[in-house]
Amino acid sequence: MGKSFLDIKQTINHVKTSKCINRWVHYLLGIYQYSKLFGIFDYRVYRFIFLRKKMNKKIGIVDCNNFYVSCERVFNPVSIGRPTVVLSNNDGCVIARSQEAKDLGIKMGEPFFQKRDFMEEHRFCVYSSNYNLYGDMSDRVMTTIKKYATEVEVYSIDEAFVDFSNIPDEELEDRLHFIRNEVKRLTGIPVSIGIGPNKTLAKLTSHIAKRHPQYNGICSYWSLPNFRNTLYTISASDVWGIGRKWSKKLRAIGVDSVGQFIMQSDMVVKKLMNVNGLKTKMELTGMYCFPIQKISKLKRNIASTRSFGQDIDSFDQVAEAMYSYITSGAKKLRDNGISPNKATIFLTGNRHKGDEHHTFKQISFQTQTRDVEEIWSQVYPQLKNMFRTTRKYKKCGIIFNNLMPESIQQTSLFTQPIQLIQPPVNVEKKWEMKQDFISQKYTTSWEDIPSVFV
């Protein structure tokens, strides 16, 4: 009798507490909804939510050192020890530099033609970008990392966020050294690892580590001396997530360093930037706001665009280039299993020669499609309208918007049959990329595998 009575009492208590929690949750949700409406108390609410998210996480960023240069060096022993650079598409400017090249004062994004003589004089190794090789090597590196950690977010071609929270503190350093050595041994690519309580601090730590070679590629937020003071020596624009636009705004209110940035009030940051800016600020103070995303989000749009090898003034050439970009774009769509119902095409003049001309046109397809012929037939008339024979063009491209998975296909009631237009044929490809210094596809083509000698 007594036992069952107790049981009932416990149940009632349980219901009471859960109701109580429920009420609180509703109350908080209410505040949140209202604050969203008014906007003004927004930051307090966000702060409240994020404060609770202070977790003991260990987030690492694994970053390949001078990735493109490292890839070239794996297959070109000649370039080891010599200053090496990799050029952008069309051999326009420098997009990757070895340490030796950095020491000789080569800047990121520097136009190649300006430095050509200087590079020849200093016996530089120069390579055109070889994305077949970099893509494959990146895949090898990322898959190797995934073997040693469960939560990995491949963030870019040469970076990945990794969750090391399950590794005990005392083993952490050995573990990181092990991963670093394994990646180097198995793929030949050197990596450095920065680790911190969240993504932003991990990035910042690896930024600091890069400037101080004594860390030997592994740098932990917790082992940095005087971290707060160091923050004043780092420019706010070096923080992950603070781009050119925001750092300009910050400079306008007198904020230059990271240290100054985190001293700003939440209100100011939220107003000046947005909630992501606020999250960045909170992460800099040790909170955890940006979780690791294992699965990449569905792409919003897919662009297929490139600049021509030389300026083009004939319509046939532009049409041919556009057709080939549509073809490669359609391949990307197929690979991702999505199809667009809108696209934007654009034509751009040569900005380096002072031609700021830029025209674009949005096209709505009759139905969702990724069929090259269908897309081309709807793009062609618009392209013809846009094209001016008096102008010279340097770049064109197509961006597919409104991407939907195949399964969600919406068909229109009143579709007229599309009049198919012939693709361009037999046009001399003047627009093709300039790649004077391209290395071979060492890992993706049997004709290009590297040679061994006696």
Partner: protein
């Protein structure tokens, strides 16, 4: 998997005539990759150019598995200052990888 193999797997659904006696013996056909490129991630291919040495002929394809550490007398590819070279392993420091297979087309 080839179409024939797929047909073999779905053989049950075709109930015309007698069931195939091979039905319960459907196996995956042998694939050279399982033998040569056990770790596709760390496997690289090179082509040898030069006179016949160390059992390697001109034009042979060398399969290199970077995940295997070489031991004494193993065939290795070295990254020399200017190019790759094939040698017997004798504790050199600039080893690129151990040669695990030599593919020789007759």
């Amino acid at each position: 998997m080839s179409t024939i193999q797929k047909d073999m797997l779905f053989i049950k659904s075709r109930t015309t005539g007698f069931a195939s006696p091979a039905e319960s013996y459907v196996d995956k056909r042998l694939d050279l990759n399982e033998l040569i490129a056990i770790n596709p991630l760390t496997t690289f291919y090179f082509r040898y150019k030069g006179p016949d040495t160390l059992g390697v002929k001109n034009g042979n394809i060398l399969v290199i598995d970077k995940s295997v550490d070489p031991v004494e007398d193993d065939l290795v590819v070295l990254s020399d200052t200017s190019c790759f070279k094939i040698r017997k392993f004798e504790d050199q420091s600039n080893v690129w990888g151990k040669v695990s297979w030599i593919l020789n087309k007759l």
